[in-house]
Assembly symmetry: D2
Homo-oligomer: 356 residues x 4
Amino acid sequence: MSSSIGNRVRVSIFGQSHGEAIGVLIDGLPAGERIDREELQAFLERRRAKTKFSTPRREPDAPEFLSGLVDGVTCGAPLCAVIRNTNQRSGDYGKLRDVPRPGHADFTARARYGDAVDLRGGGHFSGRLTAPLCIAGGIAKQILARRGVTVGAHIEQIAGVRDRRYDPVAVTEADLAPREFPVLDPAVREPMEAAMWEAIRALDSVGGVIECAAVGLPAGLGDPMFDGVENRIAKAVFGIPAVKGVEFGAGFGVADLRGSENNDLYYREGDAVKTRTNNHGGALGGITSGMPLIFRAAFKPTASIKAAQETLNLATGEIEPLEIGGRHDPCIVLRAAPCVESAAAITLLDLMEERG
Amino acid sequence: MSSSIGNRVRVSIFGQSHGEAIGVLIDGLPAGERIDREELQAFLERRRAKTKFSTPRREPDAPEFLSGLVDGVTCGAPLCAVIRNTNQRSGDYGKLRDVPRPGHADFTARARYGDAVDLRGGGHFSGRLTAPLCIAGGIAKQILARRGVTVGAHIEQIAGVRDRRYDPVAVTEADLAPREFPVLDPAVREPMEAAMWEAIRALDSVGGVIECAAVGLPAGLGDPMFDGVENRIAKAVFGIPAVKGVEFGAGFGVADLRGSENNDLYYREGDAVKTRTNNHGGALGGITSGMPLIFRAAFKPTASIKAAQETLNLATGEIEPLEIGGRHDPCIVLRAAPCVESAAAITLLDLMEERG
Amino acid sequence: MSSSIGNRVRVSIFGQSHGEAIGVLIDGLPAGERIDREELQAFLERRRAKTKFSTPRREPDAPEFLSGLVDGVTCGAPLCAVIRNTNQRSGDYGKLRDVPRPGHADFTARARYGDAVDLRGGGHFSGRLTAPLCIAGGIAKQILARRGVTVGAHIEQIAGVRDRRYDPVAVTEADLAPREFPVLDPAVREPMEAAMWEAIRALDSVGGVIECAAVGLPAGLGDPMFDGVENRIAKAVFGIPAVKGVEFGAGFGVADLRGSENNDLYYREGDAVKTRTNNHGGALGGITSGMPLIFRAAFKPTASIKAAQETLNLATGEIEPLEIGGRHDPCIVLRAAPCVESAAAITLLDLMEERG
Amino acid sequence: MSSSIGNRVRVSIFGQSHGEAIGVLIDGLPAGERIDREELQAFLERRRAKTKFSTPRREPDAPEFLSGLVDGVTCGAPLCAVIRNTNQRSGDYGKLRDVPRPGHADFTARARYGDAVDLRGGGHFSGRLTAPLCIAGGIAKQILARRGVTVGAHIEQIAGVRDRRYDPVAVTEADLAPREFPVLDPAVREPMEAAMWEAIRALDSVGGVIECAAVGLPAGLGDPMFDGVENRIAKAVFGIPAVKGVEFGAGFGVADLRGSENNDLYYREGDAVKTRTNNHGGALGGITSGMPLIFRAAFKPTASIKAAQETLNLATGEIEPLEIGGRHDPCIVLRAAPCVESAAAITLLDLMEERG
């Protein structure tokens, strides 16, 4: 399989950028959970990110629920939600197959599926497919919230400009609440925006990092070795287009630490066992410790840039100039926070449902 | 499930550090593949790393094959191989459950499995369980080699001392060959060793980074979204104890790149389509491009250190001093390269078998 | 998970009888396969069975394809097809939860999902969910046909009236072709219809048996023990509501045979290895032999009957009379052949794709 | 995969008849469960069936536990148990590949795995592989018993001689207890034995049917469509060599019933909801009703018979006489009851663990 993830709560994503519709099927949702449509829509809007930088399609991204709900409440049957694609165009389709855009999946998708592959607008590999991911994520977040688990994310870095990180031992629900421009330190917004303007002027794009955290998790979730919290979250997060790295807790920073610095010491606070630092990021041996779960995901700069590029014409074997039309985000990180939250939320709900 | 991974070639690992045996079950291996026992043993010895720093157990780690082979050739039936644990001791068992070692899975494992959990020597969470992983990995490497795919790894970093990285577009089989001290630049060995001696003197430990590459892969392996090459390799690599981050190609470095820098331009070389740079690390949209697959994994410093630490006594609720006896590696990164290669190799073989 | 089946080609079914829509998601279909919509529609009509006995809903059951196709050809991305429910009614919903209909899943579904369960018209347990199964089955049949594999089914038994069985060694594609009244021996139609009229007059219903066969399969498909052809087909066929038994080849009849009678002797015909009899039904050790795959499925009589019944009111604890309104098939076996073919076809396509 | 089954409790079987060992790996067993070794051994002895008819190998079938237990109690880590093969012989190996025994998997296994396949004594397809299945089953039965669930089985039929069936509404734990000759009606033993003697005298073998039941199950276990109780049990039971059919409750008998006869009417007994009849066999819509779970499995006559047979020499293309040496059971049904119980028990434990 491919576009499907989860053991007990299984999320399957379908659709192509320029097909009839995109959507998500969720099998295994607990029954009896009310889905707040307004809250879900607000969450989806965060992904659409109607900022001055970004270029959302006209579609409202309002999901239609085809199954799984009765009067807005999950009934236990698989939930299917779809979003219609209203502005499909297919003009340059044939051309695309022969002239793969650098940094996109055009070439690899064709290698995988042959000439029948749908590359229009990126096809099934389009960033647009994060919309159904966010439907699943938004639903999972609502259910998790009722169980005391809050998931949030912020832009930790754009083009080298860094926000402060979550306090790994004291991140609060308030820290995880959505913001119009999702950074913790408002002062970094201006330099981040400046970096993006600069990229736009250069007909270029920039990359960044999203940091995500979940609080309220019980200790003891996850399985050892290959089905631990980190394994599963990494598997989900690498499903978001453009992600090139995932790290938990101190992450790659552990390479510079000594054991005496990296080890998180236990203590008791009330009835809870806690650690004084949180370099482990909330998981040890693949199993949650009850401390905040914290991870970061690196996003490459938008592959579609306006600057002139060259590429190989697979049909002719010639290098030829490539111009990518349309408007494209100079930085998809702006819209990535809810996607990362979604990947985390569907994984955590799966883990919680598995434990029963 | 937990200690099991793979779609078509499924690797399941079992055993506890101080139990009767550790082992691996591999279901779905292609039939008719000769397993070179000497080559496999040499691979396993790389993990045992009898260096002056490390402390291998006395066991020879010679796997016994219980099934799946006839006269040294795979017969298609599930292959089971075990390594006996010869020096089990269980003296301090009861104590362990109440006094979780910082940085280990003692606390989380108990939260997960309750009082019946086996924490002796780390139980099922012990680094010793990487031995059966390497049995599977060594077998996968042999089969992959026959199909023209070579997997290798080196120490990219120990305690802040960095080796050079693989040339992402020109890494060769020779670069991937095993070395006694697995670095590309022999000059970094001395400062790495010095850093480890320093840590030893401080009764402490250090972390590091392993870089892994695979060459010879065809384009078109992998599935979109959640079952791509990166998703699966990350899921496997996070199964190695102490890994806190995984990144592909330019990895977290993409956050500082512009699209025009990060995009890898296509060209043709003979019949092959290649890219002039390889920031994508060999996978786009989860599917192999045919360029070298390159990723790095961050390893935290060994949690077991000789320096005095404190921990919480879960039974009494008191903080108490903790001393960890025995000899422990000051840096598990020394032994980690074959483990990371194994995680990659079993995943790549699975991908190749899936494609048929 | 629940409503999902398959390893490499994964079929997931969603929808409730009185919800917005029912549908199917197929992940892993080979790319480049043209889907003949007319042929598919004709196949779906066989399930709707507009005979004098049956009571199809008004809906045309015309699937809308939301994804996975470009110009009618599979593109490798997950294929989603939906059928709108046009005549949803929800009048008696509340009542249903308290007064489970005998022979239906009302009681068990409520035990499983609690009060939020959707029982309107059977909800996700309705026979109507076999329509999306047949979409998947019809697609699988078209792809299989291009690979030389033909799947068909007939009514082997209704209310004790028996059709002749397929000739297990010589069943042909012609035998497997659809018929208006799907029996092999036209002479059994009249007594079968008479039995159904009699049941209708008695306000009652009757059961039966479907026999299914596939020809053109290569030898060597399937895996031993739990993932063999028989295991997988049984798992799929028991997914059709009302199935209470599945048997392959000589089936339960083997209990009366001696080894010397049951063993199928090998011989060569041209280049092919064949067996002179086919008591094994085309699979030995879970693996296809190349002989016709033959199995039968027993269907219970329609649970919804007009005759007066009693049931337990779960709210009051009292036994009370139950009358089931609406029109119901006196025998679902009439419509079951394409459902059984579908269960077989999706399983066989999965097996063939797995083998590559 | 192949020899592996289960969602939450995953049972994987390995070994070949004439290899080093056979065994089972169980991943996902609940922690803290004491395994009574004597009780397990007694269960395994039932499979060995040292009757006057059967021909057990000399091996004591005493499992060695390599992992997953500490002092006889499950610790949550994967449990691996192995049985050594002490009397491997491999004399006629080469011959076997060319001269497939009728009714065995020799031919299909070779079609699947090629010349490297292990056919010695049936290889991985041997009935001997039911020993590790019974290790898993015996463990599952012990855990189920602590949760109030009892699983048992009896010979319902041998060579046309029928035992009475379980009372579907009133089967008791006593009915399910093991017996030396596992029939409910002692009077059928003599004619069954007579039928077997007759087959032995004719150098032949006979088939039969096993009936299995489980009592004490809660209502609400199982998932709709493809992951229901019946789907899963059928998938497991078809994993036992020689099974050709599986039916639940009234089974194939439903074809002769009217709806008014087949529908099971609800009533209340104390706090429990029950049905007055149990044609549904304990599952409706794939979900347990709380009534006894009842199913039957048809076993073909032993394929290895002493009588002269012919077979095809695949190398020469000639039909040649075949004589099968050694001693073979005239009826494997004698030893099948614990195997069927095991298939049921591992499935039911999986279902219960999934529900949490």
